[in-house]
Symmetry: C3
Subunit: 376 residues, 3 copies
């Protein structure tokens, strides 16, 4: 050991390599090569050729269409008795993988472009025209100040604005929700999936379902877990939410459809599993910007030829359908190989260091211990 | 072998470890360390620093916009001659990554909230008011029973309901499809992709396309595979479907745009590949809830100031554009290292067990065979 | 070495196997088994049981809702002074994960189905009825030729068509954009994410935000990076684009929300990071089909009971919100094991080949070198 380097230098310039035993036996060698060939074929054939097609289209191709059914009657002020069907409360009428059901709303009828006093609050109250800067508006304004201070009601004067008049007053959200009857609405979800790897397609309306079944069935986790018709109230309940509370301010619900298919087994066992969860913030107590709402308008031309609109501030539940798929085919390669002389090779391969030998620095102590053959 | 444990106990308390040959050679050691450094730099630099940015944005960022063109003329009863353009038949007017073209519809004009007799069927026919429970409705109802039994036509009496009247009668689907001319409509698909890893962007309107080309070209897999304007009929045909059959009840089509780019080569070879497939159930024979339709309404105020609506039950084809991207840059590290004394190390590393030696239990039979040096 | 095969044949039939040292020491053996058990428990418990749930729902579940605020006043010809609010310029009124803001438009009022002369260009100009083939139309037509050649204005005659009349004339895009004031509009983005693996939920309205903060705050990368209210102009500017130029012809913008959370640390450090980029083609100079626009119509019944429509060719910006999430929990297992006799085993395991011994073909040169014990 006439090292001219330090130990550190020695360590850095050392090279470890596992010691390999080379066995000259045609039977073993041939088996070895066959196993290598199989692995090579697997790697080239499966991983390179096949998987590439898989990467393109991911694990599933899926399509989702939905159709909501149900009617609600309202006769609350200021509405007369009115009936609402899907064409009225599903907005927009179709979307990819999701649908919105209006459950509550603030209605402002017959809006026309013109001048009207602002709704009274700290910033809009005024005493004279000097308090109202003509042309001013900010990002929360409904319209542009005309510069006049006008009478809002007998008590209060507010700045006049140019806007869609009369203004929407959304200070009070109707409670209970006007269309709370949406709890009983149902939705038919049609979902088709394809596993392009295995050229396998299936839809969530199972083959044993016929037209009359579809007309009457309703999803129930226990009694009818494969009926593709869901009562909105049931879905919200399964997610641990209260429908009538949710209906007041709206929210976002997720409908998760999971297909985990073992295609080795009967394809009739490849069935969807539905779960429901609320996707927006769950802490309902939160008062900072809860729920889900948006505004939309229906436009009309009135008798005078002027464009008017009916403004809805629509609160409701957006349901998002997400499909997850996963199919497997058993691909295990069971490598069994027995050999008469396995014991001999075992002796060659395994070396036994006995506890009792510790301390004995024999000539053979470089890892090869005599008589080790006997131990096996 | 004076074991005090059983064989099982022995086995459980054994420890296997591969035997390692340590080579004290500065040339080999230095090469070893350099290779280790390169691997370390690769792991830290590429996998940790670089890949993190990649994980954030996935493999591609893509945007898709679509514009449908084409007109259709209808003059079937009860419609007068009428022209339909994109603003009429694309509903809603814009969506992310998808568009819907109405190909067939059932039209119910001038619906007003009011009372009218139900359409006659087993459950709605009645003889007296006693057969109609006031206030009753179920999830498939169009309206709420008023409790009266009224004359539907000369022969039949049905329960009266409060609903949007007159009721839609969707018993018969128009065949052939009213807007079957949609087969000749075209859609311009504009798709821009970005591979953020490689800071590479491209759009499917290739750089050699000019305005006049875009005005006249039409996708054709053989003659013009890069024109981004697709005839709806061609896409449906490539998917193996019959457009006129599909148009009657509607369906969902997928337009798959695949970008597989080898950025080592010319970027002009990074081009999109389009494929089309039907996404909803393909077994067209199925009678259980086939096709795709939804209802929407246009709202009007009639002369009397009453809100009326025109209800469409719209059948049509939803086209979903899905973009898959994949870019590669060759990153192979070719490790070639030759060494004069490789033969010597080979001798140290490989040991040869010859078949002929089986049965000979020499002193050296712990896996080290004499003269093995000569065999290599 | 009495080989009857060639060297190649020998090589093919060789079998390499690493040589393994078997240590008979209860302490080492027990530690070995414990480590194996831990690894086994990890593999079965974590990878099989836990990860399976993970595969189903991917790394995050997310919901996004948006609400645009702001008003714009227009009084350009042919419009009178008119005010636009979100219900007017957000089309459609709600979408999943995206929203469209109309920034420019070409308006064609009071279209009625009827006959009118084509807009004059090379192909539509005519001298007599013979130049106009009745019933002809192509994919770019606005209507169907009636076969007559009629006067378009005092100078020009064009073919008459059956169409929605008067025709839209989109030859000139308004510049500057009519609703360029959209630059000052703001959007509230509400995003809730869930990491189902860790049963962790959070929203982008942080817990320290209250109602009055939300009413007044505005996103600013430096001063207020967690305010979920974004000025449209700021987002476009951060993406390196000019809003007023973009507003003229429209485009597609991406709002990327990235949540990279280390749940070992305080959850208050798990915050969203917003980035903005333009998703459609960036080379604004390109004249081939730039920007983003679509057509939609509002339908009316006029005094004569005839259906009319107001056609919009809407140019605008589609904002697509994409959420990326990634949460980690440190799972390192630090395996430290010290053993008194480690030196002895090291001797057994490591064998030292010294440079100086090269060339010496001793009896022991099958990889076992004498005195190696001393070197360690």
């Amino acid at each position: 050991m006439t090292g001219c380097c330090t130990v550190v230098c020695d360590f850095l310039l050392e090279y470890d390599t596992p010691r390999i035993v080379l066995i000259r036996n045609k039977k073993v060698g041939a088996i070895n090569r066959v196993v290598q060939l199989v692995i090579l074929a697997y790697v080239i054939g499966w991983v390179l050729v096949w998987e590439k097609g898989y990467q393109e289209f991911d694990s599933t191709i899926s399509s989702v269409t939905t159709k909501v059914k149900g009617i609600a009657i309202t006769n609350s002020t200021p509405l007369e008795e009115q009936l609402w069907d899907a064409a009225d409360y599903v907005i927009p009428s179709q979307q990819e993988n999701s649908f919105f059901v209006m459950t509550n709303f603030i209605l402002t009828k017959n809006q026309v472009q013109g001048r009207c006093p602002e709704l009274p609050n700290k910033r809009t109250r005024c005493k004279s025209d000097n308090d109202c800067t003509a042309g001013y508006y900010n990002r929360r304004s409904s319209g542009v100040l005309t510069g006049k201070c006008v009478r809002y009601d007998e008590k209060v004067k507010t700045c006049e604005i140019f806007a869609w008049c009369p203004l929407e007053n959304d200070a009070v959200i109707p409670k209970p929700a006007i269309l709370g009857a949406a709890e009983n609405f149902t939705v038919l979800i049609k979902n088709s999936i394809t596993f392009p790897k295995f050229n396998f397609s299936k839809r969530n309306i199972l083959t044993n379902a016929n037209s009359s079944y579809l007309k009457s069935c309703q999803f129930n986790r226990k009694n009818d877990p494969f009926c593709p018709i869901f009562r909105l109230g049931d879905m919200v309940q399964e997610a641990g939410e209260d429908f009538q509370r949710l209906a007041v301010q709206g929210g976002v619900m997720g409908i998760l459809v999971v297909w985990n298919c073992n295609l080795d087994r009967s394809t009739s066992k490849c069935v969807p599993k539905y779960t429901f969860r609320r996707l927006d913030n769950k802490n309902f107590g939160e008062t900072v910007s809860p729920g889900y709402n948006f505004r939309f308008a229906k436009y009309f031309i009135n008798k005078g030829g002027i464009e008017t609109r009916t403004l809805f501030k629509a609160y409701g539940i957006r349901f998002e359908v997400e499909v997850f798929g996963h199919a497997t085919i058993l691909c295990d390669i069971i490598v069994l190989y027995f050999l008469k002389k396995s014991n001999y090779y075992k002796e060659k391969k395994y070396k036994c260091v006995e506890d009792s030998e510790l301390g004995i620095e024999s000539e053979d102590s470089y890892g090869t211990i005599q008589n080790s053959g006997k131990t096996n």
